[in-house]
C-alpha cells in the first residue's frame, strides 16, 4: 500500500497519485488537447468557450483563466500537462516553476544557476517552521 502521509510530508510537492489523477483528469486532458495547432487557436480565440468543451470544476476554470499555475497543481493538474498550456501561452518551464514557487523567472533562473534549490530544509514539512 502507498504511504500517502509520508509523501504528503514532503513540502511543496504534490505526488501525482490516484486521487490527483482522478480529480485533475479533465483539466489535464484539456491541456493535452492543446497539442493540436487548431485547438490552440480555438482556445486563444475564445478561452471560456473552449473550456466549455471540458467538464472542469469552477476552481479549475478559474486557475486556467487566471494563469494560477500553483492553483492548477492543487486541483489535480500535472506539470507535464499544465506545461502544454504554458507552451500555448509562450511560457517556459522556468517561468512556470518560478511562478509556482513565488519567484520571477530571473530570480528562479539565478537560483538554478547557483546550484538549484537546496535539499537541506526541504525534505520534510517538520523542518519548516
Amino acid at each position: 500500500m502507498v504511504d500517502t502521509d509520508a509523501f504528503e510530508d514532503i513540502p511543496g510537492t504534490y505526488l501525482f497519485n490516484k486521487d490527483r489523477c482522478h480529480e485533475g483528469y479533465h483539466l489535464n486532458m484539456f491541456c493535452m488537447s492543446l497539442m493540436k495547432a487548431e485547438n490552440r487557436e480555438a482556445f486563444l480565440a475564445d478561452e471560456p468557450g473552449y473550456l466549455d468543451r471540458f467538464p472542469l470544476t469552477e476552481e479549475q476554470r478559474r486557475c486556467v483563466l487566471e494563469r494560477d499555475w500553483l492553483g492548477m497543481i492543487h486541483v489535480g493538474g500535472n506539470i507535464y500537462y499544465t506545461s502544454k498550456l504554458g507552451a500555448t501561452l509562450g511560457r517556459s518551464f522556468q517561468y512556470m516553476a518560478g511562478a509556482m514557487s513565488g519567484l520571477t523567472q530571473e530570480e528562479y533562473r539565478a537560483m538554478m544557476a547557483g546550484g538549484g534549490r537546496p535539499i537541506e530544509g526541504n525534505r520534510s514539512k517538520s523542518e519548516q517552521k
Binding site: F7, Y80, Y81, Q94, S101, A113
Partner: protein
C-alpha cells in the same frame, strides 16, 4: 547470438535538445554541459552498435492519461519525432528494429514481463534528446533503435527491483536472438529535479553522485531504494532515475565505468551521463576495422 556490450545512462532534458537545435551550445550557459558530451559521442562512434535499446519515458505525447502503460515496446519500422506543442524537433526520423523488437516483446511476455506492444508511436524529447547528446546532429541516426517506454508520471512507476529484473530479462532475450548483433542499452531521465509546486528547482548533487557511484559499487542499494527516497531526495520528477536500473540490470554483474559527466543546471535539472562496459570476456568493444 546477439549481445549487450555496454550501457549508457543520460538525462533527457528538453532544453538540451532546444539548445542544440537553436545552435546555442557555445553560449556560456550551455558550453560546460555540451563539452562533456564530446567524449561520449566519440565513445559511441567507436563502439558503433548495431542497435540501441533506449529506455525512456513519454511525457504526455504518444500516451496521455487516457491509457497509461507501465512498460511499452515500440515494434514499428520508424518513429517520427513528436510535435510537443512547438513543432517537431528538426532531427531525423528514428528507425526501429522490428525484428529484434518483436523478438523482445515475445520473449519478455513469455518471461512474465507483460509489455504493451506499440505499432505506431511518435517519440518525444525523452527519446530524441539522448540520441542528440550521444550522436550530435547527423543526417540520419547511425543505428536503429528499439524504444522501451516506462510510466514514471502517474504514481506508482515500477519499483527499482522490477526495473532491474526487466533489464535482466532483456539481456536473456537479447542473448537468445538468432543474429550476431552488438547491442547498447540506454537508461534515460533524471537526475535530481522537481518541476512543480513550491519546491520546484530542488537539486541534490550528493544524491546524484552517490547514485552514479552505486551503479557499479552497490547496485543492490539502488534496487532496494523505495520511491519515496527518490521523491524526497531527488525531487518528484527525479523518480525518472528508476529507468536507469533497467539498463543496469541488462549488464554484467561486474562492469567498468568508462566515462562520467555531471553538470548543474540544464534548465531545472541536474544532468548526468555515464557509460559502462561489460567487463571484458575476450573481445574488445570497438568494432574491428
Amino acid at each position: 547470438m546477439a549481445q549487450i556490450i555496454a550501457g549508457l545512462g543520460t538525462s533527457h532534458v528538453p532544453a538540451i535538445g532546444a539548445a542544440l537545435d537553436l545552435g546555442r551550445t557555445e553560449e556560456p550557459y550551455w558550453q560546460p554541459l555540451f563539452n562533456g558530451y564530446g567524449p561520449a559521442q566519440e565513445w559511441l562512434a567507436r563502439v558503433d552498435p548495431d542497435v540501441v535499446i533506449l529506455v525512456y519515458n513519454d511525457h504526455g505525447t504518444a500516451f496521455s492519461l487516457e491509457v497509461i502503460p507501465t512498460f511499452a515496446i515500440g515494434v514499428a519500422r520508424e518513429f517520427p519525432p513528436a510535435d510537443e506543442g512547438w513543432g517537431p524537433r528538426p532531427v531525423p526520423v528514428v528507425q526501429g528494429h522490428p525484428k529484434l523488437a518483436w523478438h523482445l516483446a515475445e520473449s519478455l511476455i513469455l518471461d512474465e514481463f507483460d509489455l504493451t506492444i506499440v505499432n505506431e508511436m511518435d517519440v518525444d524529447h525523452g527519446l530524441t534528446v539522448p540520441l542528440s547528446v550521444t550522436c550530435g546532429q547527423p543526417e540520419a541516426w547511425p543505428f536503429p533503435v528499439v524504444p522501451l517506454s516506462v510510466n514514471v508520471i502517474q504514481y506508482p512507476p515500477p519499483t527499482g527491483k522490477r526495473c532491474f529484473d526487466l533489464g535482466r530479462a532483456i539481456r536473456k532475450a537479447v542473448e537468445a536472438y538468432d543474429e550476431d548483433l552488438r547491442v547498447v542499452i540506454f537508461g534515460t531521465g533524471g537526475m535530481s529535479h522537481q518541476l512543480h509546486g513550491e519546491r520546484a528547482g530542488v537539486i541534490n548533487s550528493d544524491f546524484d553522485r552517490r547514485f552514479l557511484d552505486d551503479l557499479t559499487r552497490d547496485p543492490q542499494r539502488l534496487i532496494d531504494l523505495p520511491h519515496i527516497e527518490y521523491v524526497r531526495e531527488a525531487g518528484a520528477e527525479g523518480i525518472e532515475l528508476v529507468m536507469w536500473l533497467i539498463m543496469r540490470g541488462a549488464l554484467n554483474r561486474d562492469i567498468t565505468e568508462v566515462y562520467r559527466h555531471y553538470h548543474v543546471p540544464a534548465s531545472n535539472t541536474a544532468t548526468g551521463l555515464i557509460i559502462f562496459e561489460n567487463e571484458a570476456e575476450g573481445a574488445p568493444l570497438a568494432r574491428a576495422s
